[in-house]
Amino acid sequence: MDKNKLEGNWIHSHEEDADGNIIFRPEGFQLPLTRAGRAAINLKSDNSYVLKGEIGRISNNLLADDRYKHKDGTWMIDDDNILNLNANEETQKFKIISFASDKLVVKNMK
């Protein structure tokens, strides 16, 4: 798929998760308030990314003082439409199930 289209800040809409699918909405999409925070992955055009919070575990987004956990690294999409997030020699892989400008659906391949 076209990598450029995936660039941007994607916010975890955990209320919509189902059947192992993880749902993201773009920056600016109206999502309900939540005390546990929302993971967000900012996929940048230079192939770097910043992850706030943790994808998949909503209760693990924040630090002890309620600020976000931060992780950064590099990202790529391989030929099988798998989003690879590389940080500290570790790679997280997410299968891209569907994509539209207002909704990104992935599955954790771990």
Binding site: R35, R38, A64, D65, D66, R67
Partner: protein
């Protein structure tokens, strides 16, 4: 939660026993907050002193508050009334005068305690002039993150008032889905205090359910007074909040839990999700425990011993 303890049995016991499993929390806190360890050692010493001499030694404290309202759009320039309502909530919650304290399950009704802490908008500014205790700053920033930029005029926010004398509360359009964040005692004075989303501050005005009852500030001020989350900030039942009478819990609770919610073999009563230091909705958090009060009072006689004097 504290490992291997039973609610109500903390009195007279040696201060908190740290176990290996808690170290990961320490490292994380150390990373984000370099003064945390030294601060903790000091506070644990105070906690053990207070346990020895008893809470009756304590004098009620009134903490002067300055609320810095940072707004771009006029609607974010919240009304005085919304601010007053937040001060009222803090005064109720920190003296166990909140009406909804009746929601505590019977089993914990004797575990709750007043922190004997009052809050009042400051009447004198740092120069000694009369003040409302409210500052209002228009900004060009659409929103602020958790990077403390709201705490400096140079980055579109408002500078802190001296942290020894005031509890600084910044109220703004906090972005990224956060309701608020705090700074533990012992950190830099220029960033000391709490930041609260304007829609989750106080009651009425522009507040939004289910965070419309002022409990976000109650929770964040708990961190300001050195309370940790009751699940201990790990997810393997090994974390601790260094408080014995909050049951060990695995994860935060969210929403409006139904009693009991069991985790970490903490049955039959389960997680104390009615505690202000969990992640539930505003109408579901209603109490501090006696152990948490001891910890806050230790902070007020230690790391924050100048505030309110």
């Amino acid at each position: 939660m504290e490992n291997q303890t039973i609610p109500g049995q903390e009195n007279g016991k040696a201060p908190v026993q740290r176990k290996c499993g808690t170290m990961s929390v320490h490292y994380r806190l150390l990373e984000q907050h370099p003064l945390f360890i030294a601060n903790q050692i000091n506070i644990e010493k105070r906690v053990s002193e207070l346990k020895k001499f008893g809470l009756e030694r304590l004098i009620p404290v009134t903490i002067p508050v300055v609320v810095h309202v940072i707004y771009k759009n006029p609607s974010e320039n919240i009304a005085d009334q919304q601010i007053f309502s937040q001060i009222d909530v803090l005064n109720e919650d920190y003296k166990a005068l909140n009406v909804d304290i009746s929601k505590i399950p019977t089993i914990w009704q004797n575990t709750t305690a007043s922190a004997h802490i009052s809050f009042a908008l400051a009447q004198k500014d740092p120069a000694g002039n009369p003040t409302t205790g409210i500052t209002r700053t228009q900004t060009t920033q659409d929103s602020f993150g958790d990077d403390d930029s709201v705490k400096f005029a140079v980055s579109g926010g408002a500078d802190a008032w001296p942290a020894d004398d005031y509890l600084n509360i910044w109220v703004c359009n906090l972005g990224g889905g956060l309701l608020g964040y705090a700074q533990f005692p012992g950190g830099p004075a220029s960033t000391d205090g709490v930041v609260i989303l304007n829609k989750a501050f106080g009651k009425g005005g522009i507040t939004q359910a289910p965070f419309h009852l002022g409990r976000t500030a109650t929770h964040e001020v708990g961190h300001y007074l050195n309370l940790l989350h009751i699940w201990g900030d790990t997810h393997q039942c090994q974390g601790t909040d260094f408080v014995a009478d909050t049951p060990n819990a695995q994860n935060p609770n969210t929403g409006k839990p139904v009693f009991p919610h069991i985790s970490c073999s903490n049955g039959p009563n389960g997680d104390m999700f009615v505690n202000y230091m969990d992640y539930v909705d505003d109408d579901s958090m209603v109490m501090f425990t006696a152990g948490q009060v001891t910890r806050m009072q230790a902070t007020l006689s230690g790391a924050r011993n100048l505030i309110g004097i």
